[in-house]
């Protein structure tokens, strides 16, 4: 085995080559990753559970299969983690919540089933803001996750553990879940790549729902190419999810090297406003320069309803969330709490099992759906959503891709904003529009080697055009990191 294995840098594509050429075995790669997790976890807290037994069993099978000369997938033998919202038979699935802290899954999520078919090696399930409610990774019942590139900073949320684990080498990629930025935010803060695919591109079956019409499942990786490889394996129509799209899954890696010459990039002026951190702005403009040098044309565009997006996003999102969380009653699953009758029992279970943020969202969501208020809130928000869709579609008639900062700020310090819910909600301003519209968005580090100021740029493409994101993202990386 190679002594120079640098798990912080090792990509899926490179590991696959090493495995293929037998420079390393899947078991060795897995053991090495497990060792890394053991070393970093006391400080970072990226994992809720480490599935060592599953990982070692699966990697052994891969090695045995490889020994027979059988053709294996690009993900075979590669350790990965799942945000702890994905059901995997026999593992704890908590969604970072207290109410599900003891819940053991009895079925596999489709994304997990697909990765199993690709012979991926599940190494653990990652920490997250409880039920996906949070942008900092501090709202988990299992304690906050720290940012491995600077442990005084938050890693971003809600797929906080996934971002941190990938950044420190605890598994080569992770499957996050993005409802309003939950993949892209930690990707930006941890200096890794995060893809929120088109709504309907990846099956949601088996993923604990936050907001059903927004929830998107995607890879968090160390390179754009890796994101393309992973999406290839998890995308597609699923008979268990009626919202998955029929459109065929293209061969993503075939698009990586397409020339950007003459391609048009739109910069929405509403995303370059006063609230934007000057350093973030400066770095994003540097990235724009790179694209200009690659032959792309930069066009200022307008997405005028951006200011309404965050309100509309939250109203619809938490309305759905308030309904989705209704099933958490501690009766059929989850932590059972005493009570003198059924209604007292579930009140107690929910009172103890949900954190303040969940309670806040359940209350506001319930209110927004209530008779007499639904017209004013829920229905109004759905109208704004239609407008947002329209304006994105018309923007895409002018440009091939939209480029924005992923986050308006650099990662806050741990504890800094934890008690300011409104500020935290506003932190998502640049990521939330994408989910109600349903388009795919990719967060790519502007400079993954700059640990002092992690900034992600967000690339947004039309529905089911992930290959365009990969193309733009990959050529950027190639240009910036060319040695």
């Amino acid at each position: 085995m190679s002594n120079t294995l640098d798990l912080v840098k090792l990509t899926v594509a490179d590991a696959a080559k090493m495995l293929d050429s037998k420079q390393i075995s899947a078991t060795e790669l897995t053991q090495e990753s497990l060792r890394c997790i053991k070393a970093r976890e006391p400080e970072i807290n990226a994992f809720i559970s480490v599935t060592e037994e599953i990982a070692l069993t699966r990697s052994k099978h891969v090695d045995a299969d490889r020994a027979t000369g059988k053709a294996l997938s690009a993900l075979a033998g590669i350790p990965y983690s799942l945000k702890d919202v994905y059901n995997v038979v026999g593992t704890k699935t908590t969604a970072g919540s207290k109410i599900l802290e003891s819940y053991t899954s009895v079925y596999d999520a489709t994304v997990e089933r697909k990765l199993q078919e690709a012979q991926g090696v599940l190494i653990g399930k990652t920490n997250c803001d409880s039920f996906g409610f949070g942008s900092t990774g501090e709202h988990s019942a299992f304690g906050p996750t720290k940012n491995p590139i600077n442990t005084t900073l938050v890693p971003g949320g809600s797929s906080s553990g996934s971002g941190a684990a990938v950044a420190y080498g605890g598994g080569l990629y992770s499957i996050g879940e993005d409802t309003g930025g939950s993949i892209r935010c930690p990707a930006a803060f941890c200096n890794i790549v995060g893809l929120k695919p088109t709504y309907g591109r990846v099956s949601r079956y088996g993923a604990i729902a936050y907001a059903s019409s927004y929830d998107s499942i995607g890879p968090m990786t160390k390179s754009v190419q890796d994101a393309a490889i992973v999406l290839q394996h998890i995308a597609g129509k699923d008979p268990y999810d009626a919202t998955t799209g029929e459109s065929a899954v293209p061969e993503y890696t075939a698009y990586l090297e397409n020339s950007l010459h003459g391609k048009k990039i739109g910069l929405p002026k509403e995303y370059f406003v006063d609230g934007l951190d000057p350093l973030v702005r400066q770095k994003i403009m540097q990235a724009v320069e790179v694209y200009t040098s690659l032959g792309a044309e930069i066009i200022e565009i307008s997405l005028p309803n951006t200011e309404h997006a965050i309100a509309a996003y939250y109203i619809v999102g938490i309305s759905e969330a308030s309904s989705n969380l209704g099933r958490m009653d501690g009766i059929r699953f989850g932590t059972e709490v005493e009570g003198k009758n059924w209604s007292e029992k579930i009140k107690n279970a929910r009172g103890i099992g949900f954190n303040d943020e969940a309670k806040r969202r359940i209350m506001v969501g319930t209110y927004a759906l209530s008779a007499g208020y639904a017209d004013q809130f829920y229905k109004k928000a759905q109208q704004v959503r239609k407008l947002l869709k329209k304006e994105f579609l018309s923007a895409f008639s002018l440009v091939d891709i939209i480029l924005t900062p992923t986050m308006p700020v650099l990662p806050p310090k741990i504890g800094e904003d934890v008690n300011d819910p409104l500020k935290l909600w506003l932190m998502d301003a640049f990521t939330v529009s994408v989910n109600p519209v349903g388009v795919p968005a990719l967060s790519v580090p502007v400079d993954k080697n700059d640990v002092s100021a992690p900034v992600g740029m967000q690339l947004i493409a039309p529905h089911f055009k992930e290959e365009v994101l990969f193309n733009f993202g990959h050529l950027y990386e190639k240009e910036v990191y060319a040695s």
């Binding site: 079925y107 019409s213 919202t243 099933r327 209530s370």
Partner: protein, 486 residues
């Protein structure tokens, strides 16, 4: 009574599908061990998603069409949010503002002629689980959770109990004819919810109150509940008070209702479009194709029987009681031209044949007599080859042995005697043996009947009575005899 009924119905019908509404679990849960027909979806486990059952939706559209409804070709499912132990997701997937069917009508036959009952809507939803209370414990069985339910809602158009009963029976017939449900009330496949109030005769506005009685499991209990509520509400009204607007429940099958918590005003189901299921879109062509699968519905059949065969309402109603009964009958008249034979077949079918089936507790599908065999029997009767008493005897034998009428006529020696010489011999013998009766005949016309009876007896019932009569008349030399025995 100075009051008239104002009644609307909501009817829940379990659709007959192989799998449940939103998952692949076997929908036939009846008498299965608790919690054996369940999966992550119908248990509402975290992360599970509903995928709508296309067959069930098609059944809902077929029922809507059969009830004369318009179809929402762009429709959707909605979440109805409420907490209840047997509702695992804390919401029921139902339909709110875009039901598959709306604005329909059903014709019913009332005492004072035909009436129309307006159908407000027909929508699709999922059934809940079942709470079983035992002592101070509640046990939950989720086998029923997610079974497809069709909900039919009528306008408050009923004024008579009889109309409610007629409608309920007709609706059951319609769903079974369509094959959308077995509507077996003993298995809870068809349940009623009654919305009822009273108003003074002559008033036309809807009363200010409405009493809702849920979970009525049979038409007979429905009748009892209406009777009980009529008396109860009338009592209150006569005191000059208004009955409380509330939901009332049943404790047994007596029809006596009890006040349940008057929670209705407070109940806010927070309906919103089910985000896990994309809108359901049907094209005009698809609806047309579904319409083509409806087949002839009970009322259409009845009308046709009355028009084409001249059946009276009661006879037609008996034949159309079930689709199977009607089809059996229609099979029996295949190729028959003579209206008299069709009429006789109908009479023999709903009369002697049904009575014999009932007496021997035999199901129509298991009867050894086929429609073709009944046709043969009635034709032989029509041809005069057998007499009516013989036909009865043969029919009974057919049901036991499954042998054909012709075989049994021979085997039992029941072929009618039509040889005039043979009958005349018997007539002569009878006259010779009864001189006193001939004497009596002048005063008592019944004496003539006695002679016919004697002759028939000697002929073993196998002669045509008309023929015997004719010969007797001829022999007696009286011409008015035939008329006197009519």
């Amino acid at each position: 009574m100075n009051y008239e009924l104002v009644i609307g119905l909501e009817i829940h019908i379990q659709a007959k599908t192989k799998s449940k509404m939103f998952c692949r679990c076997d929908a036939k849960y009846f008498s299965a061990a608790p919690n054996t027909h369940v999966c992550p979806v119908c248990l509402g486990l975290p992360g599970a998603l509903p995928v709508p059952n296309k067959k069930a939706i098609e059944q809902c559209i077929r029922l809507s069409l059969a009830l004369g409804c318009e179809i929402n070709k762009f429709s959707k499912f909605d979440r109805k949010n409420y907490f209840y132990p047997d509702l695992p997701k804390a919401y029921q997937i139902s339909q709110f503002d875009l039901p598959f069917g709306y604005k329909g009508k059903v014709r019913i036959e009332s005492q004072d002629g035909e009436k129309e009952i307006a159908i407000t809507r027909v929508h699709m939803e999922e059934d809940t689980g079942k709470s079983i209370h035992s002592g101070n414990k509640t046990l939950l069985d989720f086998n029923k959770s997610g079974v497809p339910l069709l909900e039919v809602v009528t306008e408050p158009d009923f004024r008579e109990v009889k109309d409610v009963v007629f409608f309920a029976k007709r609706l059951k017939q319609i769903v079974t004819y369509l094959g959308v449900s077995d509507a077996d009330m003993e298995k809870g496949q068809m349940r009623f919810e009654l919305n009822m109030s009273l108003r003074k005769i002559g008033e036309t506005q809807l009363p200010k109150y409405k009493v809702e009685v849920k979970n009525i499991g049979s038409i007979s209990v429905l009748e009892k509940v209406i009777a009980y509520e009529t008396e109860r509400q009338q009592g209150i009204l006569e005191k000059g008070e208004t009955p409380v607007q509330e939901t009332r429940g049943l404790r047994d099958l007596s029809g006596i209702t009890h006040s349940q918590r008057a929670k209705e005003e407070a109940n806010d189901y927070r309906y919103f479009p089910e985000p896990d299921i994309p809108p359901i879109v049907f094209s005009e062509e698809e609806v047309t194709l579904l319409r083509a699968t409806l087949g002839e519905l009970p009322q259409e059949k009845k009308n046709r029987y009355q028009k084409d065969y001249g059946f009276d309402s009661a006879l037609a109603e008996k034949i159309i009681a079930t689709k199977q009964k009607a089809e059996w009958f229609e099979q029996s008249i295949v190729g028959v031209q003579e209206p008299q034979v069709i009429a006789n077949l109908a009479k023999w079918y709903v009369g002697d044949f049904m009575a014999l089936l009932k007496a021997s507790k035999t199901r129509l599908s298991q009867a050894k007599v086929t429609p073709e065999m009944l046709r043969e029997l009635v034709q032989r009767l029509h041809e005069g080859k057998i007499t009516a008493p013989s036909a009865k005897q043969i029919l009974a034998e057919m049901l036991v042995s499954g042998k054909s009428p012709d075989a049994l006529i021979t085997e039992l020696g029941l072929e009618a005697v039509s040889d005039e010489g043979a009958i005349l011999d018997v007539v002569k013998q009878v006259l010779a043996a009864n001189p006193k009766v001939l004497e009596d005949m002048k005063k008592n016309p019944n004496a003539y009947k006695f002679l016919i009876g004697q002759a028939m007896k000697q002929l073993g019932g196998k002669a045509n009575p008309q023929q015997v009569d004719a010969l007797l008349v001829k022999e007696l030399g009286v011409t008015e005899g035939a008329e006197s025995i009519q």
